[in-house]
């Protein structure tokens, strides 16, 4: 177990290192001179040189990289060009909104996916299965930027029940959480269905039935616990993706989280902030995935003993 833990953590560090290196080179992909792009053509030479020095762009590239790693190690992601606040401070002020939305979306996804997946598996190859699978396929094919405006149209404009966008109270969270949650639920219920179908035909379920246990007891005691493993992995992946910033959904609903921050930074050509957001998003994604992987082993004794 400790060996696995060590290997996961070293892999996490390695991938984080690779991701940050890739993000470092992003700024060098800016066509032309990044300083000119950021300041505009009318900026004076002094301003340009000042910025070049403050971003270390005057140094040879390997020195830039070394400084970048050094700062990263001290959790220093640089300073925003636009507001001249530290990037870390800006990100921290936006993190809460994203976490809040991610948790709400996750709850909606679970609440929708469990009944959908269970009904589909219980009535396999009958109409409830086809209906639930069609809903899921439909859900997978609707992109967020279509579902979002449709929900706004329906609940905020025609019915007037909920606010269109922004972040003021619980009501404003419903629509973005629904947009993200239903898309997740679609994938999740498909996974749950196939996982439940696998478990339902195992000998231990047959023997539980032969012992005369009630169907409810079989479902909750014997089927669900065993069917949850692949679902948990997927859930981890999805939660990571959500924390990672539902960039498009946050943009649609002007939800002031990390995703919207990324887009704002791109629009303002605030490259240090863009880099900071991308690093934070991907590192939290890697971190959540690593935790899921470890959790998976803790839950399932078969995997724990096999490795």
């Amino acid at each position: 177990m400790w060996g696995v833990l060590a290997s996961r953590i070293s892999r996490f560090l390695l991938v984080t290192f690779g991701v940050s290196t890739l993000v470092f080179f992003l700024i060098h992909l800016v066509p032309g001179d990044p300083v000119e792009v950021m300041l505009g053509e009318s900026a004076s030479v002094t301003d340009r040189e000042a910025m070049r020095v403050s971003l270390n762009l005057h140094l040879p590239i390997w020195q830039q990289l070394a400084l970048y790693y050094q700062h990263l190690f001290q959790l220093d992601l640089g300073t925003s060009l636009h507001s001249s606040q530290p990037v870390v401070t800006i990100i921290m002020s936006r993190l809460g909104a994203t976490i809040e939305l991610a948790i709400a979306a996750l709850i909606i996804a679970i609440l929708l996916a469990i009944p959908l997946g269970t009904i589909a598996a219980k009535r396999h190859r009958q109409w409830p299965d086809y209906l639930s699978s069609s809903i899921a396929l439909f859900g997978i094919s609707v992109p967020n930027f279509v579902a979002g405006p449709v929900l706004i149209l329906l609940f905020a404009i025609y019915l007037g029940w909920l606010p269109v966008s922004g972040r003021a109270g619980v009501a404003s969270m419903v629509l973005p959480a629904l947009t993200l949650g239903t898309a997740m639920a679609a994938i999740l219920s498909r996974m749950l269905r196939s996982s439940l179908l696998d478990v339902m035909h195992t000998p231990y379920v047959l023997s539980a039935r032969a012992r005369g246990l009630s169907e409810t007891r079989i479902l909750f005691k014997h089927i669900y616990p065993n069917a949850m493993l692949p679902v948990i992995t997927l859930l981890g992946l999805q939660l990571g993706g959500l924390l990672a910033g539902a960039i498009i959904t946050e943009t649609i609903f002007s939800w002031p989280g990390i995703g919207l921050l990324t887009i704002e930074a791109i629009q303002k050509r605030d490259y240090p902030l863009v880099q900071g957001c991308v690093i934070l998003i991907s590192v939290s994604y890697i971190l959540v995935n690593m935790c899921t992987d470890i959790l998976y082993r803790v839950i399932d004794p078969r995997i724990r003993e096999a490795t």
Partner: protein
């Protein structure tokens, strides 16, 4: 399955019809007309007009050309790059494979289209940059798939036989290994097509993709969402069309998977 009237076939027929119209029709997607601003669908303009009075139908078809063309290019390049990297990595093995699989891991560590958004944001908008950004994300799926397949295929008897006969590596790869990858790669390509279409529309929706006045489904939804209250058809119509296209490729992927017996 063949010849039956079902949802997939109807959807396919609808798309073939649109394709025919798209090739043959004379379109005026950029024709501004003040008289028709934000007009809802009518018998004269049967999908209505947008905020500049441009016909939504014409823009939809013109947008389809852009979206489909971009998706084809991105999937082709991703497939070629991913397949080459994956096959070579698994076949050569050793340290080389180790390095490649770490690189694949690093690219997979960016959730969703984050990397594409960052790249498109840094490189600036435009069709070429959309292709670069989406290919940078797209090749990984193919590489991972090809690598996993080749890792088992290279131990098959016919590969060992070819090696024992002294066949050069490139012949073994091209004649004895790559053809066996066709089925899973075709299925993957079909799903990739669906996700590239969503991603391209997503980038255009964020203003990072195809630029005005060029029509694209994503940018049509973006422009339309500003007039949600007065002209919901500007958002709903491109949204529905995009959705049906994505659904079609997802359904086709499911069908191909069953038909070609992948996994």
């Amino acid at each position: 399955m063949r010849g039956r009237v079902n949802f997939t076939n109807v959807l396919l027929a609808f798309w073939l019809l649109l394709l025919l119209i798209g090739i043959t029709a004379e379109l005026h997607p950029d024709e501004v007309s003040l008289a028709h601003i934000l007009q809802p669908p009518s018998s004269e303009l049967w999908l209505g007009a947008d905020d500049l009075g441009r016909p939504v139908f014409d823009r939809l078809i013109a947008g389809a050309r852009v979206s489909l063309l971009l998706a084809v290019i991105v999937v082709m390049i991703s497939l070629f790059v991913g397949l080459s990297v994956g096959v070579l990595s698994a076949y050569i093995g050793g340290k080389f494979d180790n390095v490649i699989s770490h690189i694949i891991d690093i690219f997979l560590a960016f959730p969703g289209i984050l990397l594409a958004i960052a790249l498109a944001g840094i490189l600036g908008p435009g069709e070429l940059n959309v292709i670069i950004a989406l290919t940078a994300v797209g090749w990984v799926g193919f590489a991972r798939l090809a690598r996993a397949q080749v890792l088992s295929i290279r131990h098959y008897d016919h590969v060992s036989a070819a090696q024992a006969l002294g066949q050069p590596s490139y012949r073994i790869l091209l004649l004895h290994i790559v053809p066996l990858l066709a089925a899973p790669i075709i299925v993957e390509a079909s799903f990739a097509f669906a996700s590239v279409m969503i991603a391209e529309a997503g980038l255009s929706f964020l203003g990072l993709g195809v630029q005005p006045p060029q029509a694209s489904w994503g940018s049509m939804i973006r422009d339309g969402s500003r007039y949600l209250l007065v002209a919901p058809h500007l958002t709903l119509i491109p949204g529905l069309v995009l959705m049906s296209a994505v659904l079609l490729f997802n359904l086709a992927g499911d069908r191909l998977r069953d038909h070609l017996n992948v996994k």
